[in-house]
Symmetry: C2
Subunit: 329 residues, 2 copies
Amino acid sequence: MVSIRDVAKHAGVAISTVSKVLNNYPNISAETKEKVNAAIDELGFVPNTIASALSSKKTGRLALLLDVNRHAQSVDEIPMQYIIGAINKAKELGMDIITVFFTMIQEMNVDETVRYFQSQGIEGLIVCGLSKQDVTIRRVVRSGRFKTVLIDAPGVSNDTSSIHIDNELAQYEVAKKFVLESGGSKILYIAGKKNGYVSEERMRGMKRLAWELGLTVYTRTGGFSELEARRITMKYAGNKDAIICASDLMAIGAMKALIDMDIYRPVCGFDGVSLMGYAGKQMHTVKQDFQNIAACAVEELAGLIEGRSGREVIMPHELIRIKYLDVIS
Amino acid sequence: MVSIRDVAKHAGVAISTVSKVLNNYPNISAETKEKVNAAIDELGFVPNTIASALSSKKTGRLALLLDVNRHAQSVDEIPMQYIIGAINKAKELGMDIITVFFTMIQEMNVDETVRYFQSQGIEGLIVCGLSKQDVTIRRVVRSGRFKTVLIDAPGVSNDTSSIHIDNELAQYEVAKKFVLESGGSKILYIAGKKNGYVSEERMRGMKRLAWELGLTVYTRTGGFSELEARRITMKYAGNKDAIICASDLMAIGAMKALIDMDIYRPVCGFDGVSLMGYAGKQMHTVKQDFQNIAACAVEELAGLIEGRSGREVIMPHELIRIKYLDVIS
DNA sequence: CTGTTAGCGCGTTCAG
DNA sequence: CTGAACGCGCTAACAG
């Protein structure tokens, strides 16, 4: 392995000079800079991130915490989009990301988790979809030992930012468009989780609309589960005019139930996952750009690490209509 | 940050002794081991992986190379399953994984890629679904600088293992069961990619069956694309008895085409993705356990790193029938 | 069985 | 503007 020392020797300068060239320090003559770069090229020198991290105490390593059930044959489109967005942006910024699942952390206590990240040289955390019962993670975040960006969860502090779309507004908007278009006033609203942050916000949006349009809204929580949404629809959709769901997956469940019940009711979703297309239906929904959200989270985290203060970032959303052909074409 | 030195002082032993305790070296008396462990607990010491890696030259870092189009609203179930399986196993073995996408590497040349991995202290690569035109990655692998496990691609050497199901057999089996059950002898076979490894193997299985049962098989390559499979089906399915696809995604495309054409033909898939359930159809297919395959790949890679020689590992597959309710229940 | 001594490859003063 | 020297936290021979 060719090291910085070899480069220095080859270029006829001191090690520190090479280091300075590498890290773009000022006060290096263009001439020596050239010499050094030439030597680097000739020797095929590769700066060793590990040594650099040890010495500088800056690792540039982030952890992306995701909530996926490892055994379920679940539909993991959203986590995957987060991963893609985060990794690409991290690469761009010269950082690297390790992906961690909530399930792994659930097997550890706060201390172990902190130690795990610490020993790995993790400087920052991006936590996706934290809910109120994820106490361990919550405490890890609050320990303040890591800069953190929370996606879809509140919590801003000096070293914690929060990033999400305006869930209340989005739910309000999409539901309004949907209701005005499909008519009807007796609505079945299948919400997310009780105590879920985004769920509550979306619920508020729904309530606001109900008040505004004088709708009768019957609400149940489906836990973002397709199956549960299906059950709820079976049970309560019969005497309603339309169904509004707090996620696309639940909307699919609702649609399946309607098919089984052999009745038609318009359905409205939320998230804009491409999976919807496979359900073969046309539907109003809110589209979130998960990749972009994750990318912004990485940038935000880089900012926190560099010393900026935490803040709340609201991402844009879009109202769309997913159609059968959207996926295929 | 409390370091190994502090622990040593606190326990009244030498630094190296602590190190030995940490790494479970032999020849340490139970007594001093206790002392050291006590000190570790009291001080809340966290071994620094980075320093350890620098010193020992063993990083325990693997890269998982995945082929996902970053911009496509693609269906990423399979990559996600690989990620989950690999990460969980890696954690279990005390290694860590960074995920890398083919697209990132395509922007680099061989040298840059090797350097990138080297500088990150990557010791091993798990490459999923390498195809013949991925020349850069191919060369990186052949450079022999990294231990490598190839999932779904051939190539065994001293420091390279290959791991995959028996594609020929699986295609043969599922197609046979499918054909015998649904009847008919004029088959449209939508293969994967020309020059794709798994594609060719599956094709061989199909040919063997055709020969054995005296089937007439009309073959087109759909490039594992849903849209392409759809086009092919539109064009050629009319005068066939059944359609066999080299992937579930293409099977979905075929089904959609059949719906559009308003004709019925039985369809057979391959992979066993849960996504199939959303298409709302019942279908024969081959089920692969992607999580398990990835987990085995990690283990295999760990073995290679420890000095074992490369080899070929054949994973089991299953013949299943995906039904409408499989996903939901 | 334990302690001493060298580094691993790099970043960073601080003299020159 | 440059270079010598030290140390990051740990592992790995070697002595004892």
